[in-house]
Symmetry: C2
Amino acid sequence: MSENVRDANMQRINNKQLAEAFIDEQIKQIQKEVGNKKVLLALSGGVDSSVVAALLIKAIGQNLVCIHVNHGLLRKGESEQVIKVFQKELGANLIYVDAVDRFLDALKGVEDPEEKRKIIGKIFIDVFAEEAKKLDGIEFLAQGTIYPDILESKGIKAHHNVGGLPKELNFQLVEPVKLLYKDEVRVVGEALGLPHNMVYRQPFPGPGLGVRCPGAITRERLEVVRESDAILREEFALAKLEGKVWQYFTIVPPFRSTGIKDNKRTFDYMVVIRAVNSIDATSASVEEIPYPLLFKIRDRILKEVPGVNRVLFDISPKPIATIEWE
Amino acid sequence: MSENVRDANMQRINNKQLAEAFIDEQIKQIQKEVGNKKVLLALSGGVDSSVVAALLIKAIGQNLVCIHVNHGLLRKGESEQVIKVFQKELGANLIYVDAVDRFLDALKGVEDPEEKRKIIGKIFIDVFAEEAKKLDGIEFLAQGTIYPDILESKGIKAHHNVGGLPKELNFQLVEPVKLLYKDEVRVVGEALGLPHNMVYRQPFPGPGLGVRCPGAITRERLEVVRESDAILREEFALAKLEGKVWQYFTIVPPFRSTGIKDNKRTFDYMVVIRAVNSIDATSASVEEIPYPLLFKIRDRILKEVPGVNRVLFDISPKPIATIEWE
């Protein structure tokens, strides 16, 4: 597997010039490898798959077929941005699959975190494979594997890209950024002209908002997660914290508490704000959000998100807590 | 009910001299009213009942019988302090009733907050009445009713003292601080020599820690509430916030999340810190605990309280949240 080992002399891609050299080289490499064949890509909208998509569009244009599966657990505006950037602006051959009901129906009443992850992973593979089978003459599968995925898969955990596809879909892999570190992928993404907020998107778990809606997912609570997360991201961007704070999001536990509105008792959900800094996610410290900003976010959530009467700030470091809640 | 109306000319008791004058006057009044008869008092350890106890001990000594019911929902060290101050230091005639199992067994599996309150209230009356019936020749019941209780009972809610006693216990009431405001009760308490932390005790709900262990109370979770609350109070005292911040406590929801310890996954409770400022509890704002102190409290809770892997800070104002969670 020597092709999966990064050359010790390989320069760290940290400027536009190096990024463009990498892009030119990869385009030639992809064209040589793929020729006139078609390539399939699961495009989530994350940095890695987005950069791979942009690279492949430059290299083979319409021969790249992107499948974007909306599993109902994406953040607010995420699917819309994928369609806008890739289909409308870059003219990609993009298949949008609305699988929201299929995922949420299957997840109904499932409380166990591992079970939830398995269901999400399995349905994702099913949906992707069904779409792939509808297509003719696809021989390649592109993946946004990056170098840490390769390093991590030697022991700790399997990397999270599209594994588990049925054997009859016997694709060859195209993994153009597999020797890059995350920061390099971002520099390449900017050089490819992708939007800044897509390139500097925070890490987002595979099961999406599903893990931030702990316990059995309900559409109602999922909507609270999505809307409160959008407010948090908007306010962090306004406060110039986007790209500075490593990861920030909201969680809505399956638990309600009393409140008071117009002199009447309410019994509603609480939104938990999480904001952490980390180098590599193995440990994390809490971002000390200044109180005026914290209260501004709180007030917006309490005012704008229906069904919420309480906001909390998770001040736990990793370890002993984890960054996500399940 | 003119005797329940505060004279418009009555001076606000705000210094030792006025407090001592009040104490002298009340002692004479109580002695005249009660004579050689016995008086019963439910002594919770709160400011109001403690001040009434201290006044009555001065007035009638051993003819005051205090009953302290430990319902298992008291804060750490609270029963111990009541025994130390009243029995050991002031020589009160004190009956300590350990009713922990009776309360916690009755509350087992009860999730509904109203139902929990009813059970706690009912068992309290039962236990108190049972003890009262064992005693001979008691004709009076002392209560820590204060003036806001009287003002509030005209409409909004019945005040929280020992109502609902069986009719055969046909006591006459002794309510020596019923025309005082809370701040005056405190000044009187200090003049009576009660410990500062007892006199400036934060408001504490009747159902005790039971409302801070939302949902069905378990002994395990109750212990997490009690231990984390003790750490919070200790650190607030060290930081000179005791008596400055209106109310501060911890809540432990019936919900667990993942964490990591010694490279192994944990699934444990979270402790929520609540700290608010208020004039009269009808509205409340969040105390902006400085991050270094907040993190110090968090670290102590995570280190010292078993079964906890996460700490949150409740940043909700009242309204739209309530101060307590249920």
